[in-house]
Amino acid sequence: MDDDQELTQNEQEIAQRVRALGEERIDWMTPPVGLWSRIEIDLGRERAAADDVHDIVGDPVSDSAGNSRPTPSRRRLSRRALVAALGGGIAAGVAIGALGRGALDQGVLDQGDARTLRTAELRTLTTDQILGQAILRELGEDLYLQIVANEPIVYAAGIVEVWLINLDGQRMVSLGVYQGEESARFPVPPVLLRQGFILVDLSRELLDGDNNHSGDSIVRGELS
């Protein structure tokens, strides 16, 4: 078309893409009524979890309009609140990690395609030193927590156990035993995340037959 000669290079690029559409008119499908409500419900659940964190931490990271912006490095649970909670009646944590782990590691997972959903820096409780990261990943239907250690996380007298602690500081579930690898993966049932079990904790555990959390945490981090 002669008129094209007047167009700049950039304009011609776009014109080309419009031309590639041809004469086809697309039949646009609108999402059904009610789909947005379903999205809002899911958003509501997320924001409720975020609000819980703000209640516990005490200093919400938000702007004047009350909207919060995630800043993972600043959102940390009050250690005093948690230690107090753990010191009292600790709910028994049932080890579930061992069951699912084999299935995931059958070479089906290609970590390169896995999506990162949440991360947490794993910090020591007293010195606030970062020993590693916890990364929540999704690949298809599989949801797993990847523990990456920058420094050795070990316990010679027993084992290191990985927990997901609930924001209420009371309930927790064990994901399994961390064996000191540079990178380890633990399957996570999505229900745990929906229910607010988002505090990753690695603890020293003696092999004494007591399944409860010893209270002796090496590192902790909140998934955000």
């Binding site: 078309m1 690029e13 776009i14 590639a20 086809e24 958003l43 004047s64 912006r69």
Partner: protein
């Protein structure tokens, strides 16, 4: 920290993107109103059924919200970001379906070990172009379609739309410029 400005329905695409990055649920809703149809249509074409498309669309906007801190606002940020999430989700759904199907097939049968074809990026890009073209609205969308879709000479477009030729040319260039902004000048598709 800056306060979140209330968004009007006329907010620019860049403002909507910024709103989402700042954590405004209202901005996400606006994004849904603007691009929900694009996402849903891409999903239906890729997956072939409404149920899956609804599921994907829902997941996309929830995922967009969860990872909003990763969104870098700009005039071309949306829908590219949304479509990126969409194609990821569709690919994952297909992969998991494929794996599930394979598990149910008898071992004795000859299995085709190649994975299902991924989303055709060219098709998705075409849908995005077509969608943004529609969003320009008349008269620009009509002019661009006539000029490039149907190869109608500008003089004839001017005659058909009862507009001065210069006005048509101006609409054409402005339309192309607007589209360029929305695509960020990418060269694929």
């Amino acid at each position: 920290m800056r306060s979140v400005r209330p968004l009007s329905p006329d907010a620019s695409d860049a403002e909507v993107a910024e709103g989402i990055a700042e954590g405004s649920p209202e901005a996400l809703r606006l994004a849904f109103e603007r691009w929900g149809t694009l996402i849903y249509t891409v999903a239906i074409r890729a997956l072939g059924n409404a149920h899956d498309a609804e599921e994907i669309t829902q997941q996309v906007f929830v995922a967009a919200w969860s990872s909003r801190h990763l969104l870098r606002p700009g005039p071309d940020a949306l829908p590219r970001w949304l479509v990126g999430i969409t194609t990821n989700r569709i690919a994952e759904l297909r992969r998991s379906r494929f794996r599930a199907d394979r598990r149910t097939v008898a071992v004795a049968q000859q299995l085709d070990s190649t994975p299902p074809p991924g989303i055709d990026d060219k098709v998705v890009n075409k849908l995005v172009v077509a969608y943004e073209l529609e969003r320009l609205g008349p008269p620009r969308s009509d002019i661009l379609r006539m000029a490039y879709g149907n190869d109608v000479p500008l003089k004839e477009i001017a005659a058909q739309l009862d507009m001065p030729l210069n006005t048509v040319k101006s609409h054409l260039r402005r339309g192309l410029a607007e589209l360029r902004q929305r695509f960020g000048g990418d060269n694929h598709g």
